[in-house]
Symmetry: C2
Subunit: 117 residues, 2 copies
């Protein structure tokens, strides 16, 4: 029960859902997500840790960067059902499409340097 509720809580914020939809395009580092969502880095980091604690995404360090990706192989049974469902949802949504275009237009090296102005 606790695990299921934690999963739903992680999914019950629009910015976190946007993150999941962006991660469908490709794994992303925190600064890329921060740019697209236009939120403070610390806020994005918190969202990501919530999604990770719910086992919906996983992280991998690469030098200075931490890459987050959808946890499609190893999540619990809740994630195994809900993640694919979410992938089939919201694909017509304007925000989601714009976020994906932003992701595709983003060059990581450039994006992260711009970061804190």
């Amino acid at each position: 029960m606790r695990e299921l509720v934690k999963t739903f809580k992680a999914l019950s914020d629009p910015n976190r859902v946007r993150i999941l939809k962006m991660l469908e395009v490709r794994p992303l580092c925190v600064c890329e997500i921060t740019q697209v969502l236009n939120l403070a880095t610390s806020t994005v980091s918190k969202h990501l840790s919530l999604l990770r604690d719910a086992d919906l995404i996983s992280d991998q360090k690469d030098g200075k960067w931490v890459y987050y990706k959808l946890n499609q192989t190893a999540p619990h049974e809740y994630g195994q059902t809900i993640l694919p469902a979410i992938q089939s949802w919201l694909n017509e949504e304007k925000n989601v499409q714009e976020d994906r275009l932003s992701v595709l237009a983003t060059c990581r090296e450039e994006a992260c340097k711009i970061q804190d102005k």
Copy 2:
């Protein structure tokens, strides 16, 4: 997006999930649910209205009583995916099993009279 988040929010409280699992047994009126969950009537009513606003359950008046039931036929696409999944989950969970036994042991007429002591 708003609709999906509303659905997940409705599902991200343990008492509301317990209500859904109880409604798998049969439709229930507010006072029956109140008895099983051991919460104030007003609290249960609020939980039920959240689940209804998310289209996961529907209500039907019958005299003094309002019966709530799972909305398995007419929910939006999110509910169509998630409700059946929830039915397959948590069935081994002790709380859930106890709640269901309470429901089965409950005689509605009696239960509701006891209500406010």
